[in-house]
Amino acid sequence: MSDVLALDPRSLRFVKSIRDLARNRLALLGFILIGAVILAALLAPVMAPYSPVAQDLANRLLPPGASHLLGTDELGRDILSRILFGARTTLKIVSLVAGIVAPIGLLIGMSAGYFGGYVESVLMRITDVFLAFPKLILALALVSVLGPSLDNAIVAIAATSWPIYARVARAEAAAIRQAEFIAAVRLLGASPARILLRHIAPLCLGSVVVRLALDMAGVVLTAAGLGFLGLGAQPPTPEWGAMMAAGRQYLTDQWWVAAMPGFAILGASLGFNLLGDGIRDFLDPRRNQ
């Protein structure tokens, strides 16, 4: 092995990774889909031809055409504009959930894995309790208690998805704890907090990010599901799940009202899924052998 390390292994691996990622067509497709969602969210005010909330009852339920590319809904609102603005809602949910879930899961899991013993037993039993409930049902219950709103939907989704990150982080931390470089910094007098945050956390981050990328598709679907049931974003805020729900009653005659937001949900969750797969392959250490 060491006989062939004449070329800098790190730069070589980096170049190889970029190439592999590009070669992975599906990951690229996922990247494009998510890129489109992000672009839509950022440029919604510029790109949207109409206001997402302006009602025009004279032009309700128009089929896709020149004036309204994706048609209008039951209140005459432009569906394209609503989908573009709906991307903001979706991305807000996804990024806030990721931002809440990853640090909480990481902190709980790492502490359990590093300290072991009672700390681990207590933290992991709490985690198990959360894992024992089906995610969507627990989220539903939480929203019903907190009251339906976008913020509460985010809280509910976050509260139901952190345990898996705690599991992932615990496994990593328990393995890293045994490493000699951790023993070395302990002997130097580093506090447990310092060891966890500066030495162990960066090494757990990789698997948490992979898990996060794979889970985001599920978050998109859960968010849409809550919206569909009227428990997420409240009208008139454009939200894909709520839009689908509204279009349900016109499904046979004005299919586009429900189908267009449906395609948006499909595209976004597919995109996250493919991208997540790509990132997992990209970070998988076995790939480099």
């Binding site: 790190r10 490493a179 000699e180 470089f181 070395a184 910094v185 302990r186 130097l188 960066p202």
Partner: protein, 245 residues
């Protein structure tokens, strides 16, 4: 400087203690060896002295400080350790500079820059190593960094767990010479664990031979070289070392 009395270590789920009633003393500035085959408990003794193992019985005193047997407490200015695997003892994502700054940051020491410069000079490495990551270093260089890190807080005792067994013989010579020079210059006390008798004879004035968790005899380097040993096991060990060397 080091006093160990009746040290016994049991691991949960094992009937036989890993270390059984081990006692020895090491004077200040001395280098003492613990010799034995893998599984004889020599590394366990070292880890107990470092504080990395708790739940032992007996008495461990390092430079006048008595170690607690139930709670880990670092004694950073008294004892540091150099590990066997030079790759495993450095954080894979930390640059050498960050590795050396770590003890300085933990103890909020002044003159950080100067200390890093000196630490690298001490172990004979150029300043250009600072920006590198461990995997960009050879085994010998990594072990020098581990030694530099251990010495930044000026400990009195260095615990050495087979520090050269993962290195080529040619690189071993350099690391051994470095350790010898540092001991003389800084007046350090060494406790060296190894299964390499010639190395022990070269580095240590005295050593204890361990077998199945017990110390079976204590020898001086001169005894070792002359083959003046009492136990049959030690004689066989010595013969095997001569054959395979």
């Amino acid at each position: 400087m080091i006093e160990v009395r009746d040290l016994t270590v049991r691991f949960p789920g094992r009937e036989k203690p890993a270390v059984s009633r081990v006692s020895f003393r090491v004077a200040s500035g001395e280098a003492f060896g613990l010799v034995g085959e893998s599984g004889c408990g020599k590394t366990t003794v070292l880890r107990a002295l470092a504080g990395l193992i708790t739940g032992w019985t007996g008495r461990i005193e390092l430079a006048g400080h008595q170690r607690s047997s139930y709670k880990f407490k670092a004694l950073p200015n008294i004892v540091q350790m150099v590990f066997q695997d030079p790759f495993g003892s450095l954080h894979p994502n930390h640059t050498i500079e960050r590795v050396l700054l770590e003890p300085i940051a933990i103890h909020k020491l002044d003159r950080a820059e100067q200390r890093v410069v000196e630490a690298l000079q001490n172990v004979g490495l150029s300043q250009r190593f600072r920006r590198r990551l461990p995997h960009q270093l050879s085994g010998g260089e990594r072990q020098r960094i581990a030694i530099a890190r251990a010495l930044i807080l000026s400990p009195k005792i260095l615990l050495l767990d087979e520090p050269t067994s993962a290195l080529d013989v040619s690189v071993q010579a350099e690391v051994v010479n470095l350790l010898q020079r540092l001991r003389a210059e800084l007046g350090l006390t060494y406790l060296l664990v190894s299964h390499d008798l010639p190395l022990i004879a070269h580095m240590c004035g005295r050593c204890a031979v361990m077998r199945s968790g017990e110390i079976i005899e204590e020898l001086t380097a001169a005894d070792l070289r002359a083959g003046k040993v009492a136990e049959r096991y030690t004689r066989e060990f010595l013969a095997a070392s001569r054959y395979a060397a």
